[in-house]
C-alpha cells in the first residue's frame, strides 16, 4: 500500500504532470461553468490535444477536466440559477436563494469545501477498497437499478413535502419528454413525427438551459428589474459557523454520492438529487430548505463530487465505465495502448497509482483556486441586470448551439425557456422535471431488462432482496410522513384535553 502511494507520488509530482494537472482542473472548471459544455464533451473535445503527451500525463489532465467540471458546474447554478451540469441542478434551489440574499460567496465556498471533503473521502475509499467495492457493485443488475431509480424518483417527488402532487406531476412531465425518440432495446421511433433531430430524443442539456437560464430571465423581466445585490464584503466570506453547520450534510452527501457513484448507470445527477431529498428530511435546518439554507448547497455538491470520484471504482478496477465521461476516459486508455480491465492495477501500477495520487493533488488545487475566487465570482451579481441578462441569454443560446452545431437546439432552448417561465409563474417545481428527463431512459432500460429477465413478468423483482429493501424504503418515504401527521393530529387534541 505504502509502496504504491510512494510510487504514485513519484509519478504525479513531476513538474510536467503537476502543470498538466493544473491545466486540466482549470479547463474543467471553465467547461463546467459554461452552460451546454459538460465534462463528457470537454474530455472528448480535448482528447486529441493530449496525443503528444505521455499516457500518464494525458490521463492526469483528462481526469482533471472531469472532476474540475464538478466544481465549475456550481458557480452559475448559484449566481444566475443556470446549472452548468445536470448534477448541479439541485444546487440552484438553495444556492440561488442564498445569492439573492447576498450570500453567494459562502454558497460557492461551501460547495468547494464540500466537494473537496467528498472527493478526499471517496478517493481514500477508492485507493483502499476499489476491487471489493467493484465486486459489490456488480451485484446491482437491472432489477436493483430499477429499484434504485424508483427510489430516486420518489425522493425527488416528495421534495416539497405537502406538494407531493405537483412534484409527481413535474417528474411525470420529465419522464414523458424522455419517451421521445427510439426506445432502449427496440428500433421503433416514438413521437418523432419524422424528424431526424428528434430520433435521439430531446437532449436534456437544451432543456436545462431553456428551463433555467431563459426561464429565469423571462421571469425576472415580468417581475421587473430588481436592484443589483450589494452585499457587504463581510457577507461574501464564509464563516466558521457555516462550515460546522454544513458538516453533517457534507458527510451524508459524500456517503450517498459514493454509494450511487460506484453503481452502474445512475451517477452524480441522481446522487445530488437523492442527497438533497434526504437532507431535507433529516437536517436540523430543514425548515429553511428552498429558502437559502447552506446545507441545501453543501449536500448535493458533496454528493455529486463523491459520485464523480466513485465512478472510477468500476472504471479502474474492472475496466467497466461507471458513466459517460469515464467511458470516454476508458476510450483514451485504449488510444494510448493501455488495456483497461481487472489487471490494470497489476500491469500498469505506475500509471494507476500516479493517476490516483494526481486526483488528490488536483482536488487540493481546486480547493485552493475556488476558495479565494468564491467572493470574486460573487461580485458578478453587482452587475446591473440590464447588462447581466443579455450576457446570460447570449451564453445560453451560443452554448446550446455549440453542443450540437444545430439550430434545432436553439429552438428547443427557446421552447423550453417559455415553458420554464410558465412553470415559474404557476409556481411548479422544475427540478423534478429535469430528474425525470435524466432518469427516464435509464428507468426504461432497466424496466425492459427486468421484464426480459422475468420472461415478461415484473414479479421477478421479488427475487432480489436488495431490490425489495430499496422499494420498501421508497414506500416508507411516501407513507411515513402521512402516518406521522395522522398520529400527531390524533395525539394533539388528547394532550390538549389533559
Amino acid at each position: 500500500m505504502l509502496d504504491n502511494l510512494i510510487l504514485g507520488f513519484s509519478q504525479a509530482l513531476t513538474p510536467e504532470n503537476l502543470l498538466w494537472c493544473l491545466i486540466g482542473v482549470v479547463a474543467g472548471t471553465v467547461i463546467g461553468l459554461l452552460p451546454g459544455l459538460g465534462a463528457t464533451t470537454g474530455v472528448a473535445v480535448l482528447l486529441p490535444l493530449t496525443f503528444a503527451l505521455e499516457p500518464i500525463t494525458a490521463l492526469i489532465m483528462l481526469a482533471g477536466i472531469y472532476y474540475g467540471a464538478q466544481y465549475g458546474g456550481t458557480i452559475t447554478s448559484v449566481l444566475i440559477s443556470t446549472p452548468g451540469e445536470a448534477s448541479s441542478v439541485v444546487t440552484t434551489l438553495d444556492g440561488y436563494q442564498m445569492a439573492r440574499k447576498g450570500r453567494a460567496g459562502p454558497a460557492l465556498a461551501i460547495s468547494a469545501i464540500g466537494s473537496f471533503i467528498a472527493a478526499i473521502i471517496s478517493l481514500a475509499l477508492l485507493v483502499t477498497l476499489a476491487p471489493p467495492l467493484a465486486e459489490l457493485a456488480l451485484g446491482f443488475g437491472p432489477i436493483e437499478q430499477l429499484a434504485i431509480m424508483l427510489l430516486g424518483l420518489v425522493i425527488v417527488v416528495t421534495f416539497q413535502g405537502g406538494a407531493l402532487v405537483r412534484g409527481a406531476m413535474m417528474a411525470g412531465v420529465g419522464l414523458l419528454i424522455s419517451t421521445v425518440g427510439v426506445a432502449s432495446g427496440f428500433t421503433t421511433a416514438r413521437f418523432t413525427f419524422g424528424s431526424v433531430d428528434l430520433l435521439s430524443g430531446i437532449p436534456f442539456v437544451e432543456v436545462m438551459i431553456g428551463l433555467f437560464a431563459l426561464g429565469e430571465v423571462l421571469h425576472q423581466i415580468r417581475v421587473g428589474a430588481a436592484a443589483p445585490i450589494r452585499a457587504r464584503f463581510k457577507d461574501m466570506v464564509i464563516r466558521r459557523k457555516d462550515i460546522t453547520d454544513s458538516m453533517p450534510a457534507i458527510l451524508r452527501g459524500s456517503g450517498i454520492g459514493f454509494v450511487l457513484g460506484i453503481l452502474p448507470g445512475a451517477g452524480s445527477t441522481l446522487a445530488s438529487f437523492m442527497s438533497y431529498g434526504i437532507e431535507k428530511r433529516v437536517s436540523k435546518n430543514r425548515a429553511n430548505f428552498g429558502k437559502g439554507a447552506i446545507e441545501g448547497v453543501a449536500s448535493p455538491e458533496s454528493a455529486n463530487n463523491a459520485a464523480a470520484n466513485a465512478n472510477f471504482v468500476p472504471t479502474l478496477a474492472l475496466g467497466i465505465p461507471g458513466g459517460a465521461t469515464t467511458a470516454v476516459l476508458l476510450g483514451a486508455f485504449t488510444i494510448f495502448g493501455l488495456q483497461p480491465g481487472p489487471l490494470l492495477f497489476e500491469t500498469q501500477p505506475a500509471l494507476v497509482w500516479g493517476l490516483l495520487v494526481s486526483f488528490f493533488i488536483g482536488n487540493v488545487l481546486l480547493l485552493v483556486l475556488n476558495l479565494p475566487l468564491a467572493p470574486v465570482f460573487a461580485q458578478m451579481l453587482r452587475i446591473p441586470y440590464a447588462y447581466l441578462y443579455p450576457i446570460i441569454l447570449l451564453t445560453s443560446v451560443v452554448g446550446a448551439f455549440a453542443v450540437s452545431n444545430n439550430l434545432f437546439s436553439v429552438w428547443l432552448v427557446v421552447l423550453f425557456g417559455i415553458l420554464g417561465w410558465i412553470l415559474k409563474e404557476l409556481d411548479l417545481p422544475i427540478a423534478p422535471l429535469v430528474l425525470g428527463l435524466v432518469l427516464g431512459p435509464l428507468l426504461e432500460k432497466a424496466l425492459v431488462q427486468t421484464s426480459a429477465l422475468g420472461q415478461g413478468n415484473l414479479g421477478v423483482v421479488v427475487t432480489s432482496p436488495t431490490a425489495i429493501v430499496v422499494l420498501l424504503g421508497a414506500v416508507v418515504l411516501v407513507v411515513l410522513p402521512k402516518v406521522v401527521v395522522a398520529i400527531r393530529s390524533r395525539r394533539t387534541p388528547a394532550e390538549v384535553g389533559r
Binding site: L34, G185, G319, L330, M380
Partner: protein, 318 residues
C-alpha cells in the same frame, strides 16, 4: 469593481463563440476542406466508439484535417444512421460503420438501406467469442446448447439488431434451441451483466473482453470464426465448428461517407483511407482489438456489403 466580472463574462462568451465556430465548414475549394465529424452510432466506450476514434485520429494524421468524433447513440444504431442519411452530399461527415449497417434495414422499418451511403473502407473483420463468468457450470459451447435444450439460458445482447444478436440467432437456427435475450446498450454493459451473474452467456468481440479473460474473471468457450485465432491470448479457444455448431460470422468494421458525393470527394476519402492503412496507427488498432486485417475500399467494399447482406438475409430466414 464591475470591470473584473465583466471581463470574466466576456471571456466566457468568447470561449463559447470559439467552441461554436470550431466545426462545420465550407467545401468551396478542393474536394474536402474544413472540419470533419466522425459519427459513431453507439455510445462512448464501446467497440464502435474505439474504432471511430482510431479511424478519426488516423485520418487526421494523413489528411491534416480536424476530425471530431460525435456519439449519436440510440435505437441500436438506427439513430446514428438515420441522422447520417440526412447528411446526403456532405463530404465533411463520416460514420464508423459495422454490421448494423446491414442488419438494421433487414430487420427494422427504417428509411435507409445498406446502399444509401458511399462505402469508403473496410478496416477488418471482428468475430465474437461466447463468454461466461468464471464460475459458470458450462465448459464448452456444447454444454450451453444442451442447457438451452433442457431449460432456460439467458443471453445478453448489446442491441436489438447487433452482431451478438445475429450470432445467437444463427446458433439457435443451427441447433434448434432458444436463448432468452436481455438487451443492453453496449459491450461494457454486457460485461457488467455477465460479471454480475445477471445473465448466463454473452457473445462479445475479443477486444472487448480480453482484459477479463486474461484476469480469469471470464472464460471463452468457443469462437464464432472459421479458424482459431492466432493472437496468443485466445489461441487455445476452440471454434464453434469444432464443437459441432456450424456458425462462423464476421462483423466488419470500417467507415462510410454519406450518399450523393462527387467522384472527387469519394476518391479523396478512399486515398486517405489507403494511406491510413499503411500507417502504424492502423496496425496498432487492429492488434489492440484482436481483429483480422482484411481491408477493402470503395466498390469492393460495396460488393462485400451486398454479399454479406444476402448471407444475413438467408441466415435470418428473410
Amino acid at each position: 469593481m464591475t470591470s473584473r466580472p465583466t471581463t470574466i463574462a466576456a471571456a466566457a462568451v468568447a470561449a463559447l463563440a470559439l467552441a461554436a465556430c470550431s466545426s462545420g465548414g465550407g467545401t468551396a475549394d478542393g474536394p474536402v476542406t474544413g472540419n470533419v465529424t466522425m459519427v459513431v452510432p453507439f455510445s462512448a466506450g464501446g467497440g464502435s466508439d474505439a474504432s471511430g476514434r482510431a479511424i478519426a485520429s488516423g485520418l487526421e494524421g494523413v489528411t491534416g484535417l480536424t476530425i471530431t468524433t460525435e456519439n449519436r447513440e440510440g435505437g441500436s444504431g438506427a439513430v446514428g444512421y438515420s441522422y447520417f442519411l440526412g447528411e446526403e452530399g456532405n463530404p465533411n461527415v463520416l460514420l464508423a460503420a459495422e454490421t448494423s449497417l446491414i442488419s438494421i434495414p433487414l430487420s427494422q422499418d427504417v428509411e435507409f438501406a445498406s446502399t444509401s451511403f458511399t462505402p469508403i473502407m473496410k478496416l477488418g473483420d471482428d468475430y465474437t467469442l461466447l463468454v461466461v463468468p468464471a464460475d459458470s457450470p458450462y465448459e464448452t459451447c456444447t454444454d450451453v446448447i444442451d442447457a438451452a435444450a433442457d431449460g432456460r439460458v439467458v443471453a445478453a445482447v448489446s442491441g436489438a439488431v447487433s452482431l451478438d444478436e445475429v450470432v445467437f440467432s444463427l446458433v439457435e437456427e443451427d441447433q434448434d434451441v432458444e436463448f432468452d435475450r436481455v438487451p443492453f446498450e453496449s459491450g461494457a454493459e454486457v460485461i457488467a451483466g455477465v460479471l454480475g451473474g445477471q445473465v448466463d452467456i454473452a457473445s462479445l468481440n475479443p477486444g472487448e473482453v480480453v482484459g477479463q479473460l486474461e484476469s480469469g474473471d471470464m472464460r471463452a468457450l468457443c469462437s464464432f470464426s472459421e479458424e482459431r485465432y492466432e493472437y496468443e491470448a485466445i489461441a487455445d479457444v476452440p471454434t464453434a465448428v469444432e464443437q459441432g455448431i456450424d456458425v462462423a460470422f464476421a462483423q466488419f468494421r470500417g467507415f462510410i461517407a454519406p450518399g450523393g458525393l462527387t467522384e472527387e470527394q469519394t476518391q479523396f476519402w478512399i486515398d486517405a483511407a489507403e494511406e491510413f492503412a499503411e500507417t502504424d496507427a492502423y496496425d496498432e488498432y487492429i492488434e489492440a482489438n484482436l481483429m483480422q486485417p482484411n481491408v477493402l475500399y470503395g466498390d469492393e467494399f460495396a460488393e462485400y456489403v451486398a454479399g454479406n447482406e444476402a448471407d444475413l438475409a438467408t441466415a435470418l430466414g428473410q
